[in-house]
């Protein structure tokens, strides 16, 4: 990897937003392909962030500033990616289920997914099952449901049911998470997967895409 790319990787890992902006621009100036800058410079760095978080080495604020650095870099990079016809990894619709107002965990997942190269549509908090159903357009690959209260996990179940009843279940993969949610519960309500933290959510989403690409 070139010196400037190494510096870019390091800046995302350290969450140094200003440096990230500078090195994305420098990489472009050096003629490095936009998708290489994205994948090798930033997505790989975010993967390491996710891993460090999972290992208990990194903490939430560090994940946040890394994601913020990457978002900054993406603003510069995006027009170049579009110009060279690079598509996102996949599209994810994300939200905290009806009756639940927690947004921190869901936001972290959104950032890590963006960090993994996904296009993320965040429906926000207290999202009704119908709103998830409506959001499933042809380009949506994955639905992510968050619940932080034992009492709102039933909304998760209701949302999956609503997606089934709308005849859209086979079109999307569904992943769930949040403090009261377990892998067993995810299976029980018919979700495709469960992630225990934001880094895991990104790994899970990637595995869904790899699966569908065969």
């Amino acid at each position: 990897m070139s010196e400037v790319m190494e510096a870019l990787y390091e800046s995302v890992l350290e969450g140094e937003r200003d440096d990230t902006l500078e090195y994305v621009q420098k990489s472009l100036d050096e003629g490095i392909a936009p998708d290489v800058i994205l994948n090798k410079g930033m997505i790989d760095a975010m993967k390491e962030v996710g891993q460090l978080f999972e290992e208990g080495e990194y903490f939430v604020p560090e994940m946040l500033i890394s994601a913020r650095a990457m978002q900054g870099g993406m603003e510069i990079l995006k027009p170049h990616l579009i110009e060279s016809g690079i598509e996102p990894e996949g599209k994810i619709v994300l939200g905290t289920v009806k009756g639940d107002l927690h947004d921190i965990g869901k936001n972290l997942v959104g950032m890590m997914l963006e960090g993994a190269g996904f296009e993320v549509q965040d429906l926000g908090i207290d999202v009704a099952p119908e709103a998830f159903v409506e959001a499933i357009t042809d380009d949506v690959d994955i639905i992510g449901l968050s619940a932080l209260l034992t009492t709102t996990t039933f909304s998760m179940e209701a949302t999956i049911k609503a997606i089934q009843e709308a005849g859209l279940r086979s079109k999307v993969k569904i992943m769930v998470g949040g403090a009261p949610v377990t892998a067993d519960y995810a299976k029980k309500i018919g979700a495709d997967g469960y992630a225990s933290d934001a880094g895991q959510a990104a790994v899970l989403a990637q595995s869904f895409i790899e699966e569908s690409n065969g």
Binding site: F59, V60, N107, T151, F154, E157, P180, K188
Partner: protein, 296 residues
């Protein structure tokens, strides 16, 4: 400045008073399957031993009130909550804080409770106000009011104060005495927003000054996602108590939390002759000695 109000909870004949001039009342948070896989598994299996142990240990550690939450995904909370409460009441005689968002489960729980319980909780949403306040009134329970509105969690201290005001107004309008309302200003994690703790402390001060009601919160939330949580929790606990929090929902088994509460009470003149502090010290020494004896 509003006059400081006294909330009295009871179970059977036993009363607990919450007031700014009295020692801080820790509401033990451990009986809750959310995020505690062992409790979750035990409750799912119908095994209540861990619940009884948690109840005993928390009361022994100095919690005069226990929070009871039986929310398990997919389980029948209406049946389970009263059952868990009965298990708790079979081993300890402290007032309970009934923790549920399900009005049917709440009513079932209030039915089996003999005394003045604390309901956890109502919030500023119409649906919640209409479901919970009539039950508080009917059963003569005290109630925690969460500073959440239809629009979510307010981002400014002023807006949270306004939600607290709305809850107090609605409750007192129905004939619930104002001293039976306990406000939760919401402790959010500082790992996602470094200003979250300062904002919460501001709300505590404002609510105390304007209404004089008692104040609770799940204060350990502030450190979620951070390393060395117990130090953050202890510092925040001390500051929140000084700001006017009177009955935190917390884990009394953590030495740093417990000793911080006792030391804060002492520093704020709530611990007459320092007896609370001295007795807590002696208890700690005794436990340490017992632990040594056991290992020797």
């Amino acid at each position: 400045m509003a006059e400081n109000l006294k909330t009295t909870l009871s179970l059977g004949g036993k009363e607990v008073h919450i007031h700014r001039d009295l020692p801080t009342v820790m509401i033990g948070e451990r009986i809750n399957p959310t995020g505690r896989k062992a409790v979750l598994a035990a409750l799912e299996a119908g095994d209540f031993e861990i619940v009884r142990q948690d109840a005993l240990a928390q009361v022994k550690a100095g919690a005069p009130v226990l929070d009871v939450n039986a929310g398990i995904p997919g389980a029948d909370e209406v049946a389970l909550l009263p059952q868990v409460m009965k298990e708790v009441m079979s081993v300890v005689d402290v007032p309970l804080c009934i923790d549920t968002a399900n009005p049917q489960a709440l009513e079932a729980a209030l039915k089996v409770y003999e005394g003045k319980a604390l309901i956890n909780s109502v919030n500023g949403e119409e649906k919640s106000l209409n479901a919970v306040l009539p039950l508080a009134k009917e059963y003569g329970a005290a109630v925690i009011g969460l500073c959440i509105s239809n629009a979510g969690i307010p981002k400014t201290a002023e807006d949270r104060l306004e939600v607290a005001g709305k809850i107090i107004e609605r409750a007192t309008g129905m004939g619930i005495p104002i001293e039976d309302i306990v406000i939760d200003p919401l402790a959010m994690t500082m790992s996602a927003d470094h200003l979250a703790g300062a904002l919460t402390l501001e709300v505590v001060k404002m609510v105390t000054a304007k209404y004089g009601v008692n104040i609770t919160m799940g204060s350990s939330n502030v450190s979620f996602g951070l390393p060395d949580r117990k130090y953050v929790n202890a510092a925040f606990m001390a500051m929140a108590i000084q700001a006017g929090m009177t009955c935190p929902i917390t884990n009394p088994l953590v030495t740093e939390i417990r000793t911080t509460v006792f030391a804060s009470d002492l520093a704020l003149g709530k611990d007459e002759f320092a007896m609370g502090w001295v007795k807590a010290y002696r208890k700690r020494k005794k436990t340490q000695k017992q632990e040594r004896d056991l290992t020797e």
